[in-house]
């Protein structure tokens, strides 16, 4: 069976891009990735976008984008899995290669969050969660995070400030990443003092609204002959509860635990083998829940571990050297594609921000909402 290799990456800085349309951003990232791979065209285009369906409203997006970027005649498809759409696209691209249908796949992740006022965008972001359940009460994405964060602080008796080291760590990495949206350091003590969004969640606990696009060329290893930044070793995913509070323990992400178990079964992976990870820290509490669901930190100890430097760049695994959703930014449907582009560059020794020497295994983790779906992609140095 063929192996999938990342042979090209294209990353746009996450930011407000009023002068560019969704398709313009997609084109820019796609051209970069194609240039890097040395290809003019591909067999298949896989588009990942999510919020744009409610914001921009273009249907049949992958065909329209393919035509716009001069690839008329290729095959194409768009995939959607809310916040986890990006890794879903990488998963589909990988299986297209493995099934022998395509030798070269262009993956484009793109979303625009600054097309409308932030109030409208927060409203649309609610649809990541189950709209049957949560639309009426206006709970929103941050509201769900607030409920979980207070549960966490109460149960484990965690002081607010202990949770503030995560955002500060993320900003310290983003400062060095030219493609990050928030390229400045913050003091952990500033987190508590920033605007309260959904108490105890503050503005600095949450991701910024930005536009973004990232692209990958993923190729059959037999065709790419030794070229490329990283191998895609395995993809795993699982669905979970639409409502985290339906789980026995709302602070454990059932779908993530299930997807991770599948990945271990597929690959024999041990977490200690991983050099570098990108995890889905949509809010500070989401990062804590992921670290504890994976068993990297014990229950109730993730915040303290972060504060004590357990996840610094010199530890293994190093986490979110990009700055994470928190500070690199989180252009919803594009984020997973950013993760794979960044980790591939990290493994290939060409990442532009804080980088590791000799990293050989990398893991990307995404979650929609608080666990309706989780996805993992394991990469290995080429």
């Amino acid at each position: 069976m063929s192996n999938a290799v990342v042979t090209g990456t294209g990353i746009l800085r996450v930011r407000r891009q009023y002068s560019k349309s969704l398709k313009d951003l997609a084109a820019e990232a796609a051209f970069k990735a194609l240039d890097e791979s040395g290809l003019d065209s591909v067999d298949y285009v896989v588009v990942s976008s999510s919020l744009s369906y409610t914001e921009i409203g273009q249907l049949g997006l992958s065909g329209h984008i393919s035509n716009y970027i001069g690839l008329t005649g290729v095959r194409s498809i768009a995939v959607e899995d809310g916040e986890a759409s990006g890794l879903a696209a990488v998963e589909v691209a990988t299986y297209l290669i493995k099934s022998g249908v395509a030798d070269n796949v262009l993956v484009i992740g793109v979303d625009k969050l600054t097309e409308f006022t932030s109030g409208r965008v927060y409203e649309d972001l609610q649809k990541i969660n189950d709209s049957e359940l949560f639309l009426l009460h206006k709970i929103g994405h941050a509201g769900m995070a607030g409920l979980l964060m207070r549960m966490y602080m109460n149960r484990y008796n965690i002081p607010r400030d202990e949770l503030s080291y995560w955002p500060a760590l993320m900003h310290s990495y983003a400062k060095e990443n030219p493609n990050a949206m928030l390229r400045f350091a913050i003091d952990p003590l500033a987190v508590k003092k920033s605007l309260s969004i959904a108490d105890p969640i503050t503005l600095l606990d949450s991701f910024p609204l930005g536009d973004g696009a990232a692209a990958l060329v993923i190729s059959n290893s037999e065709v790419s002959r030794g070229e490329g930044l990283a191998k895609i070793k395995a993809c795993a995913s699982s669905t979970g509860f639409t409502n985290p509070f339906s789980q026995d323990d709302p602070l454990k992400i059932g779908s993530l635990i299930s997807a991770y178990q599948k990945l271990i079964e597929m690959t024999g992976l041990k977490i200690s083998d991983i050099d570098v990870m990108e995890i889905h820290d949509s809010f500070t509490i989401t990062a804590m829940m992921i670290l504890e669901s994976l068993g990297l930190s014990k229950e109730g100890e993730a915040a303290k571990d972060v504060a004590n430097g357990k996840y610094s760049k010199d530890s293994r695994p190093a986490i979110n050297l990009s700055g994470g959703l928190k500070a690199r930014g989180h252009p919803i449907g594009a984020t997973g594609v950013y993760m794979i582009a960044e980790l591939s560059r990290q493994l290939g020794g060409v990442f532009e921000g804080v980088s590791l020497n000799n990293a050989s295994k990398a893991l990307a983790i995404q979650i929609n909402g608080f666990g309706s779906s989780s996805r993992l992609v394991l990469l290995e140095r080429r």
Binding site: G119, L133, K138
Partner: protein
């Protein structure tokens, strides 16, 4: 789209969810789920019954939403809590309580309340919210 834009049929379909606390109970594994689904989310069984769980519960966690999405922004802060009723956790708005009175572990009870906004379709929307159970003075002393 927001709840204000919900179609008339969607409002009608959700009446059990919005106006009454009707949950699904799995006859196979015995677990409750809310809102009712066509299959048990825990064991997949389709052998289910509907039950009303209009009881008081305990506030397990809460949040105070200052940055409410879209058209609700005007009525912030909105207090939302997770209420545990016999092991089933319901996410719901809280009412008749001020932010400074909030405390996890308090007893709360369901009440049907008019939502603050109407739709432009002429629907007056009501929904279950939870309020603190008032403790009679005598009981408080006892």
């Amino acid at each position: 789209m927001t709840v204000e834009d919900l179609s008339v049929p969607a409002h009608w379909r959700r009446r059990l969810t919005y106006y009454r606390l009707v949950a699904g109970r799995c006859k196979k594994c015995g677990r409750l789920h809310y809102p009712p689904a066509p299959a048990c989310p825990y064991c997949g069984s389709k052998d289910l019954e509907l039950i009303e769980i209009n009881n008081k519960g305990k506030l397990e966690t809460y949040t105070i939403i200052y940055s409410a999405p879209g058209k609700s922004r005007g009525r912030a802060p909105i207090i939302v809590g997770v209420v545990n009723i016999e092991g089933l956790r319901i996410v719901s708005e809280l009412t008749d309580i001020e932010p400074e009175e909030l405390k996890t572990g308090i007893d709360v009870e369901p009440v049907l309340r008019r939502m603050d906004e109407d739709t432009n379709k002429g629907i007056i929307r009501y929904a279950i919210k939870f309020r603190p159970v008032l403790v009679p003075k005598s009981e408080e002393r006892g």
